[in-house]
């Protein structure tokens, strides 16, 4: 896949009318701290993510990939610029619709079983107990993890744990999935498997996917690659978009 300008991302097959904008950043920036110790993690970033997009954000550590992902998820607010989520109906942090998150380290709660971990976000979102349980079991079954439902996270291997995280995302059926280095702690075999599962799930629930990764093998499987360096998105010419 050739690195393209990061702004437009619609694929040719979809007509502009039906393409729904899931997230849009306009000149977004994030600075930590104040005065002399201020660190500019991200600046001057403008991008659009539409339904069905598969985007890889690449770049060295410190380039701002994670920051951009955090902003897209609504976990952090930009110090400059605006972000909108038209398709989600508001900031995923406050609204009913959430973004699915996959972190580098498996983010399972150690004192809850696999099944309980998967149901948790559904319960937070207001689902009834039985409904949450059913959807969680379905998600686990879909990923062939239902045999592990009563295990504790510490009993799982790295790959298994990440797949449980993806099941958790699947059960919530979000419209936007954000993954920050989801395979970097896994060995080759597991990394391949997890990447495939992630893509399959996105197909299944028709969600937009944004993955921050430095693994070119993963980046290759996605439709678009947005390189970042030193806190901003680059175009194919190496300039800011």
């Amino acid at each position: 896949m050739m690195p393209r300008s990061s702004v437009e991302s619609s694929s040719a097959a979809r007509s502009p009318l039906t393409a729904q904008v899931v997230a849009r950043c306009v000149d977004v920036g994030r600075t930590y701290g104040t005065g002399e110790r201020a660190v500019v993690a991200l600046y001057g970033t403008t991008c659009t993510i539409e339904a069905g997009d598969r985007v890889a954000i690449t770049g060295p550590s410190g380039s701002g990939k994670s920051t951009l992902l955090h902003l897209l998820s609504g976990l952090e607010t930009p110090t400059v610029g605006t972000i909108e989520w038209p398709a989600l109906g508001g900031n995923p942090r406050d609204g009913a619709q959430r973004a699915g998150l996959v972190f580098q380290a498996p983010s399972l709660i150690p004192s809850l079983s696999v099944l309980e971990n998967v149901e948790l976000p559904l319960l937070f979102g207001g689902a009834a107990r039985d409904d949450a349980r059913t959807r969680a079991l379905e998600a686990l079954a879909l990923l062939s993890l239902d045999g592990l439902q009563n295990d504790l996270p510490q009993e799982l291997s790295g790959g298994q744990a990440q797949r449980v995280v993806i099941a958790r995302v699947l059960a919530a059926r979000p419209q936007l999935i954000l993954a920050d280095e989801p395979t970097s702690k896994l060995d080759r075999g597991n990394a391949e498997h997890v990447a495939q599962v992630l893509l399959d799930v996105c197909e299944e629930i028709d969600a937009a996917l944004v993955v921050a990764t430095h693994d070119p093998a993963i980046a290759r499987r996605l439709d678009h690659i947005w390189p970042m360096r030193d806190g901003r998105l680059l175009t194919k010419d190496g300039d800011a978009a």
């Binding site: 994670s66 976990l75 983010s107 004192s111 809850l112 149901e119 948790l120 976000p121 937070f124 979102g125």
Partner: protein, 886 residues
């Protein structure tokens, strides 16, 4: 290496070191404060003993020795401030002719009093009526002879002509027991009662009276050198006792057998030192659980850093550190914590001692100060070793670097739970309790007059086992509730957590051990606070009752015998400012058979408005029912158990007593019916006495005169009211107030002022409870920040996060409070029963200090709420950084 390590720790992770040191400081401070309190209490006991003695030494001059030489020897003894020679003559009896009839008494004594005696020893003789010098007759004797100032009485002399004297005054001898002690006799062979018949003559008159008798019957005449010592005694009763008796023995040795010392001061100090030893055991026993709790707290705080420490150890092992090097690092860390904790604890104790007791020392003597602070430090170091070193050693030995570490530990029952140690300990406690109860809870075995004290430590095992067993049981029950009973927990959390309640229950079940530990600690701390506070409150109430028993009421007005004051005088007394109620009490003498006993007549319906009558005073009914009987059947009489035995009385039996008729001044027989036993009564002596209905006696004898007025001032200002009353009634009437009497009460132990100790122990209990509730929980929750961050990232709302945290603190608080209250109540009851020997009379029920307990509950709830809110806020603030690190 060690220097770099410690410097780094101190700069980067001081909280971990300080937290552990705080726990140790609390334990050390508590024990050292106890030492300070005991130093203060012992000093008080000593000074009280000294004040209670009027004549320090009564030096008996041996028969045939030169009294003047002995007096000179005594006067020259270092430490002696004043000497007075007192003559003792034994006589067969006295007679008097009054209003046409001849009264005569049995055997008695005639004393020779120097002119300066009363100035030197003001507490020995108290004028009731008449002049203060000249021929003085004891109150009982005057009553027997119907003598008053101006009467003529005749003193019999064996083999010689009787001597006639004119009575100048009637006196009371407050220290008559020690005045007539058999100097030099072993304690068991003292007279059971002092002589009734005593006449005091001025020395010159006595010399004239006794010298001829001495030639004929030298065995009947003796001289005593009454000695006053200058009070430079050490504050420790045992040391003071040693000094006083040492000086006395020294004198006896130097006198080559001519002097024997009746050591009143020594006797009083002996009692005080026995009480001091007992007090030591008592308060150590009360304070030790607190120190142990502080130790457990330290262990918990230290163990919360265990995971981090294990990680560091693993890293060091990778780098090639040997086990010995790791242990050395752990030892240094433990040493720093231990030293800092001990020093801080001692400093705090010194400050506490200064503030609460006014003295900054740990013991009455240098030796005991060292012993106490040494004990406190030793306990502190033991706690350090147990809480920090032992787990570090265990980690080093067990851990292999390569082995994985489990976050969720297996929840197997600990060894003691599998073998049922908790139940065994509780059964043991019950057994010890019932066994000691059969002995009437005799904690201190000190038969009358025997100088040794032996404390039954065995009886203290009961409460100790109860602590242990109940603590372990609480652990087991909370573990059960959170583990197997997770469904119950989930249901309890429903109102707080809504849909995620079952998940919270599951999560708590899997990570329950820290929570169980915290709940147990909290329960134990609450139980300690409750039992300490209840014991203190009961103690204070009983000390109050004891003082009331001796003094009668807040202020007691005692008429001189022979005075005829009617009950109407009560109205005058009631008009004195500060007086709430006045009750008249008759005081007569009645003959039963050949026996003369005191008889008290009361107004049964109203007597309890001025003095608290304890049920323990009576046998065969409660105080209320006895008074009711006296009121309903006016000819009822309550007698002592000796009287019942001597006269083979059965309930309802007729008992005829001979009383003096006020109109004819002759003896008449008055019938009574026996209804019950009274063993103690305010103002009554330790001997047998009668208790009757005043109006019945007044009606039968035509004499309504009142012997004593009991005044209720509402408990405050008794000394001030007493002063006002004194102005009203004049010098011939004795006015005593309860505050002064409290200082002189028989058992110096119960008069020990607990207020300082109370403040200290209860403050410590509050600190411990707050620490257990707040600190431990806070530490546990700090570990949970990562999970909270994940939950927040997954969409948890504020109320979900709040439920996750508040759910734990609520369960902890409820379990801790329930366990603590139950255990505290049990302990209080058991403690009061086991320590019954301290109380005289023993308490009928425990006094519950509701205000303190309410404050305790509020404090704990407040701490838990603060921790919950604080953790929420902390979690909120660290959310983003934690998420970023995910």
């Amino acid at each position: 290496m060690i220097r770099i390590w410690m410097a780094g720790l101190l700069r980067r992770q001081p909280a971990r070191l300080i937290g552990a040191a705080v726990g140790i400081a609390i334990a050390v401070a508590l024990l050292a404060s106890l030492g300070a309190f005991l130093a203060h209490a012992k000093a008080t006991m000593t000074s009280r003993a000294v004040r209670s003695v009027s004549v320090d030494w009564q030096v008996q001059v041996a028969q045939g020795a030169d009294a003047n030489k002995v007096a000179g020897l005594v006067a020259k003894t270092p430490g002696v401030r004043a000497v007075q020679s007192v003559g003792f003559t034994q006589v067969p009896g006295f007679t008097a002719t009054t209003s046409g009839s001849v009264q005569s008494t049995g055997g008695g004594f005639v004393l020779g009093i120097p002119p300066t005696y009363r100035a030197t020893f003001p507490g020995e003789i108290r004028t009731l009526t008449g002049a203060s010098s000249g021929v003085l007759v004891a109150q009982q004797t005057a009553s027997n002879l119907h003598a008053a100032p101006g009467s003529q009485i005749t003193i019999q002399r064996p083999g010689l002509a009787p001597v006639s004297v004119t009575v100048a005054g009637v006196v009371d001898l407050p220290q008559v027991d020690s005045l007539f002690q058999k100097v030099g006799a072993p304690p068991g062979s003292q007279l059971s009662a002092p002589p009734d018949n005593i006449v005091l003559l001025p020395s010159s008159q006595w010399n004239a009276f006794s010298t001829p008798l001495q030639k004929a019957r030298p065995d009947l005449v003796a001289t005593q050198i009454h000695t006053q010592l200058s009070n430079s005694l050490p504050s420790d009763p045992a040391a003071a006792f040693a000094q006083a008796t040492g000086a006395a023995h020294n004198l006896e040795a130097r006198s080559s057998g001519t002097a024997t010392v009746g050591n009143n001061l020594g006797a009083a100090l002996d009692a005080a030192r026995g009480d001091a030893a007992y007090a030591q055991v008592l308060f150590l026993f009360l304070g030790l659980p607190g120190a142990i709790l502080a130790g457990l707290l330290t262990a918990t705080v230290a163990s919360s850093g265990a995971a981090r420490r294990r990680g560091e150890q693993a890293l060091l092992r990778i780098r090639g550190a040997s086990v010995r090097q790791l242990l050395r690092l752990a030892a240094v860390e433990a040493a720093v914590i231990g030293v800092v904790g001990c020093v801080a604890g001692l400093v705090v104790a010194l400050i506490v001692g200064k503030v609460a007791f006014g003295s900054a020392s740990f013991g009455a003597t240098t030796a005991s100060a060292f012993a106490w602070s040494g004990l406190a430090v030793a306990v502190g170091l033991v706690i350090t070793a147990a809480a920090i070193l032992v787990p570090a050693r265990r980690d080093v030995r067990e851990q292999t670097v390569a082995a994985g570490r489990q976050v969720i530990t297996a929840s197997r029952l600990p060894w003691w739970a599998r073998y049922g140690f908790d139940v065994a300990a509780l059964i043991g406690a019950g057994l010890v309790f019932t066994t000691t109860s059969r002995n009437g809870y005799q904690l201190v075995l000190a038969p009358e007059g025997v100088p040794t004290i032996s404390v039954s430590y065995w009886a203290l095992a009961g409460p100790a086992l109860l602590w242990l067993g109940a603590g372990l049981l609480v652990w087991r029950l909370v573990d059960l509730l959170l583990g197997r009973g997770r469904r119950v927990t989930s249901k309890l959390l429903q109102p707080l957590a809504g849909r995620i309640a079952p998940l919270l229950g599951s999560s708590m079940a899997r990570q329950r051990r820290p929570l169980v530990k915290a709940a147990t600690l909290l329960a134990l701390a609450i139980a300690f606070a409750i039992s300490t506070a209840t014991f203190d409150a009961t103690y204070k109430a009983q000390a109050e009752a004891d003082a009331q028993l001796t003094n009668g009421a807040d202020v007691t007005v005692t008429e001189s015998p022979g005075a005829t004051v009617g009950a109407s005088f009560a109205k005058q007394l009631a008009s004195v400012p500060g007086v709430k109620a006045v009750e008249p009490v008759q005081h007569r003498y009645a003959y039963v058979g050949a026996d003369l006993q005191d008889m008290y007549g009361v107004q049964p319906a109203s007597i309890r408005s001025v003095t608290a009558l304890q049920d323990a005073y009576f046998i065969g009914g409660s105080a209320a029912s006895m008074m009711h009987t006296l009121a309903a059947k006016p000819d009822s009489i309550l007698v002592s158990s000796e009287t019942v035995k001597d006269y083979q009385l059965h309930l309802g039996d007729l008992l005829n007593l001979r009383l003096v008729d006020g109109r004819t001044h002759k003896q008449i027989t008055v019938p009574f019916h026996y209804v019950g036993i009274v063993s103690e009564f305010p103002t009554a002596p330790k001997d047998s006495f009668f208790l009757t209905n005043a109006s019945y006696v007044a009606q039968k004898t035509g004499n309504a005169s009142v012997g004593t007025f009991l005044v209720n001032t509402g408990g405050s200002n008794s000394a001030a009211v007493a002063a006002s009353v004194r102005k009203l009634v004049g010098p011939t009437v004795a006015v005593t107030d309860i505050a002064t009497v409290r200082g002189k009460v028989g058992s110096s132990l119960t008069s020990v002022d607990l207020s300082g100790l109370t403040r200290v122990e209860l403050a410590f209990a509050l600190v411990l409870a707050a620490a257990a509730g707040g600190l431990v929980v806070a530490l546990g929750l700090a570990e949970r920040r990562r999970s909270l961050a994940i939950m927040s990232a997954l969409g948890a709302r504020r109320r979900h996060l709040r439920a996750a945290i508040a759910g734990e603190t609520s369960i902890l608080g409820i379990a801790g409070l329930i366990g603590g209250v139950v255990l505290g109540g049990e302990l209080s009851t058991m403690l009061v029963k086991v320590l019954t020997g301290v109380f005289d009379p023993p308490p009928a029920a425990i006094t519950v200090p509701w205000v303190y307990l309410g404050g305790l509950a509020a404090l704990i709830v407040g701490c838990l709420v603060a921790v919950t809110v604080g953790t929420l806020r902390l979690a909120g603030r660290s959310l983003l950084p934690t998420i970023r690190r995910l």
